[in-house]
């Protein structure tokens, strides 16, 4: 696995690909990747789709993506294939493939698209593009790590007072099936029937605000393998479920400081985080705190704070397109809930250490 990542990186370097590869005037190939060493001091795995426990893990975060863009005036076609942390190299995921056409200030897109919920949702897998090694866990994994949908959107961009750029994007998603390997004995299958939502952003010279709302109807199935003595396989159907989510986020650049905070309110859980980073030459130290509150539903009677984490880290830009993050993250779960663990832990606290390399071209 690790060798595959190194081969991928060497392939990129051998192309001389410091920047995107321009195949023709209109056709561009670009890519990104991350790999890490990570270890926690708790034997219950942490973070959905990454499963980092108290063994040295060299492959829990490994990501590699390729993006092909075609531009011709108002027409655009784009596809992105990603080997996500949970994927084998032989089975990457088509994260997006869409056609777009712009009429004036409105762009219409159809195909497989990225779910535009949080500030960094649309570049979730591009670690080099944000300060931390991973996107804030509480928020970005609060929708089970679902990052893409099949459907349509329209993006309307306009100026306000000539100083602010506003973007409003309604979207609609259709049938899509996702299965998540939560642990060795537990999978969750989510069959999305439809999603209707809207995202909006306001961009100023030194700030960015993001709002999103969506309403999803889906069927859920818990799949247990050898989780209960004497029962090798068990499926628990939970049909006709609804997930509603509101999010608000803001990022400000104040001199060399970057401050960001996001809040998500939903009918299943609500989460938030706040972070601060400071740029000093090629170094960016940062801190981040996040919390999850679980809400009472037909699945759980628990209602209250179920998890939190604190991150202290340092990013160093080795080259302009290659960075390393050195990070310590402290997790807590409360009330017998799983928090950021993939299943309810015996010990509710954990410390996790990460050294992650990331690049783009």
């Amino acid at each position: 696995m690790k060798m595959d990542f190194i081969k991928a990186y060497l392939l990129v370097v051998s192309f001389g690909a410091n920047a995107a590869v321009e195949i023709t005037e209109d056709l561009t190939l670009s890519g990104f990747g991350s790999t890490s060493w990570a270890k926690s001091d708790n034997d219950t795995p942490l973070i959905i789709n990454r499963s980092i426990s108290d063994d040295n893990c060299w492959d829990c975060d490994t990501t590699f993506g390729l993006q092909l863009d075609y531009f011709n005036d108002a027409f655009k076609a784009s596809t992105q294939i990603v080997k996500r942390p949970q994927d084998d190299w032989s089975d990457p995921e088509l994260e997006w493939a869409y056609l777009g056409y712009a009429i004036g200030e409105v762009e219409f897109r159809a195909g497989r698209l990225r779910l535009p919920v949080f500030l960094a949702s649309e570049y979730y897998y591009v670690s080099h593009a944000y300060k931390y090694a991973r996107p804030p866990e509480e928020l970005y994994n609060s929708i089970l790590g679902i990052t893409a949908y099949n459907g349509f959107n329209a993006v309307w961009n306009f100026d306000v007072y000539d100083e602010y750029q506003v973007s409003i994007s309604p979207f609609i998603a259709f049938e899509d099936d996702n299965t998540f390997d939560i642990s060795k004995t537990f999978d969750v299958a989510v069959d999305v029937e439809d999603i209707v939502g809207v995202s909006a952003s306001v961009n100023g010279d030194n700030f960015k605000w993001n709002f999103a709302y969506f309403d999803a109807n889906y069927d859920q199935k818990f799949i247990l393998r050898n989780a209960i003595p004497g029962i090798p396989y068990l499926e628990i159907d939970q049909p006709n479920r609804n997930f509603e989510l509101y999010s608000f986020g803001a990022e400000y650049e104040l001199g060399q400081w970057t401050l960001a905070a996001e809040r998500q309110l939903g009918n299943v859980r609500s989460t938030w985080y706040a972070s601060a980073s400071y740029r000093y030459n090629q170094l960016s130290p940062y801190i981040l705190y996040g919390e999850t509150k679980t809400k009472r539903t037909d699945i759980t009677d628990f209602d209250g704070k179920s998890g939190s984490s604190f991150v202290a880290g340092l990013r160093y830009d080795i080259r302009y397109n290659l960075s390393v993050n050195v990070e310590w993250q402290s997790f807590k779960s409360f009330g017998g809930q799983r928090g950021s663990f993939v299943e309810t832990p015996q010990d509710s606290d954990a410390n996790m250490y990460t050294v992650m390399f990331s690049f783009v071209f």
Binding site: A20, D69, E105, E122, D162, Q165, G204, Y280, Q282
Partner: protein, 146 residues
Amino acid sequence: MQFLVLLIFISFLSNTSYAQTGHSYAVFTLNQDLPKLSKSKARMLFRGRVKSLQGTRIELSDWPSDHKIRNEFYQKLLGKDKAQMNAHWASLSFSGKARPPKEIKQDSMEVLLLWLEANQNRIGYAPVDALPKHANVLYVVQGEGL
């Protein structure tokens, strides 16, 4: 720990790479119809946050990645170094929100002018004293962002 100390040491050593010169840089086009830009509009244009001017979709150019003009321009306009700009454009291009500036293949004013001449919606930047007479200067950057 030794690794961290080494990183900090290297970081201090490389501080001098952003030394400023007295150059002023012009954001310009060969299209005489495009309007002058305010400071914030010019900054938002090169952050990829503004994609069109007067209803025209804009294409931007960049000097080659290691070129001094490119590094100084972004330092003066946005107070950002090359790595920060690269990470910023990665967030836009890998979310499908904007196309990064077109990197001209040679560090030559003639190559830049040929690229600009090919389409009226193209905008570039260069030292003020290197501009041709028919350039439409949209904004002049002088020691800002620091």
